[in-house]
């Protein structure tokens, strides 16, 4: 009896083993899983996940194609509606509505939906962006957020103990940090402002506008997909911000000049003392300005306090023939080692709050402002908007042209006129795209 039971048990174990071996057997499905990237620096994470993915799907090749961001967006926009797009869509929050509205996205599997809707895993600020009628349409993966970069040596030289905490301090510090040649030309910017390229220029202006008003220039409207323009509602604050820019680009308080090296490059070669930019700048400055000692700090506060974020969302193309493998790869990419890879290789911060990046932070303290949660510091994200690029580019053109206009110095009426014109331009574009919310 005993012997029979042992044999039966042994047979049961063998069968169970066979069963589990059958369950873990590689999927015979074959093909090419295509992924296009606008941020090619995240490609190593996909490559790292490839061996584990191959164990599940030995007959599927992962095909990774990286493009320049704008080229990527254009290619995706043309390919997906015609059924020729990649299997996995790496969507940024601002282009996400195009693909949701055109019914191009596959339904997210239930286990991933549970993760996305768990506020301990994904911040609801980001979940809201990709949710329509209660359903998320992709897995948020990493985020880019803005912080203030400051040059430690320039600060020491100017006798400044630490980074500015308020917008007012930021302008004052920039006046102390600026350097001029004997003939009066600027040789170092106190802060490098974004002065060109409509869309990017408006984004950076909008950062400060948020601190001054607590709202974005283009806010989500009451109906999903609609957008309202807030400039007119905050006319005085917006005009004051424009006056601050003009005052610091012309006249005695000038802290920046178009002829200087700008942006991350300007900061990396010591031509600027402060810069408001995203996480990727850390790696950029380390590579291009190895002698630059710098720190990062939260964006200075005004009436409100928060920082701009943008996210990358992993969705699956509804026309894909490899939907299950695509979701399995997305699931795999949520594991700690692949998220670590995204962070170390690209500098973009993984969105999952249930993963631990403290080891990385202790080795890379420059990421402090991007990785550490700060009480009262609100992450905000731009309104999903199918006319995003056009609205920000054209509205930005109006604001950026005003930066060059020295006649706006101490001219609040002129500044208000510019802001109202910017409001009209944005409203027209949103109306033409049928997404305007009054």
């Amino acid at each position: 009896m005993k012997r029979r039971a042992v044999l039966a048990g042994g047979a049961g174990l063998v069968l169970a083993g066979l069963g589990s071996a059958r369950a873990a057997a590689p999927d015979p499905v074959s093909g090419k899983l295509s992924i296009w990237l606008g941020y090619g620096e995240t490609a190593p994470a996909y490559r790292l996940a490839e061996p584990a993915f191959k164990q599940m799907y030995p007959n599927i090749q992962i095909e990774l194609l990286s493009f320049d961001l704008h080229e990527y967006e254009a290619k995706l926009a043309v390919a997906v509606p015609t059924g020729n797009g990649p299997d996995i869509l790496t969507l940024h929050d601002y282009i996400f509505p195009h693909y949701y509205d055109s019914d191009s996205l596959d339904t997210v599997p239930a286990d991933l939906v549970a993760d996305i809707n768990n506020p301990k895993i994904v911040d609801p600020v980001f979940t809201r962006i990709l949710t329509r009628e209660g359903k998320p349409w992709g897995m948020p993966w990493w985020k880019g957020s803005r912080a203030l970069f400051y040059n430690l040596d320039h600060f020491k030289e100017a006798g400044l103990a630490g980074p500015p905490k308020t917008m007012k301090e930021m302008w004052e510090f920039s006046e102390k940090l600026v350097k001029k040649a004997p003939d009066g030309t600027l040789t170092r910017a106190g802060i490098t402002l974004r002065l060109t390229e409509g869309s990017g220029g408006l984004q950076k202006f909008s950062d400060m506008y948020y601190e001054m008003t607590g709202v974005q220039i283009l806010e989500t409207g009451p109906k999903p997909g609609t957008v309202r323009v807030t400039l007119k509602d905050n006319l005085d604050a917006a005009a004051q911000l424009l006056l601050d820019y003009v005052e610091h680009l012309h006249g005695p308080k000038k802290v920046d000049d178009w002829a200087l090296k700008h942006d991350a490059q300007g900061f990396a070669n010591g031509a600027a003392s402060m810069l408001m930019r995203e996480d990727w700048v850390v790696a950029f400055v380390r590579k291009n300005g190895p002698d630059i000692r710098f720190g990062t700090a939260p964006v200075p506060r005004g009436k409100a306090w928060g920082n701009f974020n943008f996210i990358e969302i992993l969705s699956v193309n509804k026309d894909s023939k490899l939907k299950k493998p695509a979701w399995d790869l997305i699931r795999l990419l949520q594991e700690q080692k692949y998220l670590d890879n995204v962070l170390t290789e690209s500098g973009w911060v993984p969105l999952r709050m249930d993963r631990d990046f403290s080891g990385f932070l202790s080795k890379n303290p420059e990421y402090k402002a991007f990785l550490e949660p700060i009480e009262g510091y609100v992450p905000w994200i731009e309104a999903p908007d199918t006319a995003y690029v056009e609205a920000t580019s054209r509205t930005g053109d109006v604001i950026l042209a005003a930066f060059r206009d020295a006649s706006l110095l101490n001219n609040p009426d002129g500044a208000r006129k510019v802001i109202l014109k910017a409001q009209d331009v944005a409203v027209d574009i949103l109306k033409n795209s049928d997404i305007y919310a009054p």
């Binding site: 509606p81 060109t196 200087l260 700008h262 490059q265 031509a271 060059r404």
Partner: protein
């Protein structure tokens, strides 16, 4: 040989003579020959030139967005919208300004150099080759080189000018300077091509005419004005038309010179083709971009018609 075998042997000869007859008939029938000879080329021309133009005209009446499934017919509203489009107006004015300056400077310089090179005929070919080098450099690397030359802080141009006490200039940053900076790049790139064209034209002027003028006591200037320019009229017309079309289509150098993602930001100098590109491929408003194309096409065609009238043989 049986009758059937004889018939089989005669068949290839019969076919050959039939072919010969057809060929002779086709040669007689000139239209048929032209159609056969040019047909494939014309078909290709229609496919890659005429069809896209017609399709662009058709799209200009639709609110066609490549990311949308619903692209309704909107009649003339794309054209009406153009009247209120500030960026398009700015781009059109910039392009006209750029084209006028570029065409005048390029062609005047090319003609002057070509005439001067005639006085050193034995080495003219070497100089023509040197002037031609920028023509074969693609626009993008050429623009990147110039972007460095124009760099306000590290550029060669400001460095040279500083030797003469000129303060730092933002060639690509100042709205007042950028037009001239782009014209300079364009002239540098195109002048070699037109020197060669004018060189060919000048060589075809009969030497006896110039010698006779010299014997009559004509000065060099008088020879240029009264002999060279009138005889060069067809070539000048060709160069004016070609140069105008090239300049009106300017995009790559402006795009590269003003790209401002990093480093030295440049002034956003709008040109017509850039606007069309932005509306079509950045904002995805293909219908609206189509309307802009049609307007530009009509504008350039009218300009060319005026040029043909101005340069026509009296």
């Amino acid at each position: 040989m049986s009758g059937a075998t004889q018939h089989l042997a005669a068949a290839p000869f019969a076919r050959r003579s039939q072919l010969r007859r057809s060929w002779a008939q086709m040669r007689r029938n000139h239209i048929g020959f032209v159609v056969c000879a040019l047909g494939p080329i014309l078909a290709l021309f229609v496919l890659i030139r005429i069809y896209p133009i017609l399709e662009t005209i058709r799209l200009s009446f639709y609110n066609y967005n490549i990311t949308q499934r619903r692209n309704p017919f909107v009649g003339l509203s794309n054209y009406i919208r153009l009247f209120d489009d500030d960026p398009f107006r700015t781009a059109l004015l910039n392009t006209i300004g750029f084209s006028v300056l570029s065409v005048i400077v390029t062609l005047a310089l090319a003609l002057t150099i070509a005439i001067l090179l005639r006085s050193i005929e034995h080495t003219a070919a070497t100089f023509e080759l040197l002037f031609y080098i920028p023509v074969v450099i693609p626009w993008v690397p050429a623009a990147v080189i110039w972007k460095w030359i124009y760099d306000p802080a590290y550029g060669a141009l400001n460095y040279v000018l500083s030797g003469f006490g000129v303060a730092r200039l933002g060639w690509l940053q100042e709205p007042t300077l950028i037009l001239y900076a782009i014209v300079l790049v364009s002239v540098w790139k195109l002048v070699g091509y037109f020197i060669v064209i004018y060189g060919v034209g000048l060589r075809s002027i009969p030497e006896e005419l110039l010698e006779a003028a010299s014997l009559d006591g004509a000065t060099a200037w008088q020879k240029v004005v009264h002999i060279v320019l009138p005889l060069m009229r067809p070539i000048i017309l060709f160069t004016v038309v070609t140069c105008t079309i090239i300049c009106f289509n300017v995009f790559a150098p402006v795009y590269v010179l003003t790209a401002s993602s990093q480093g030295a930001p440049a002034y956003d100098f709008k040109v017509v083709v850039g606007e069309i590109y932005q509306n079509g491929f950045v904002f995805y408003h293909m219908g609206y971009a189509g309307a802009q194309c049609v307007v530009v096409l009509l504008f350039v065609m009218s300009l060319l018609a005026v040029q043909f009238l101005a340069f026509r043989e009296k």
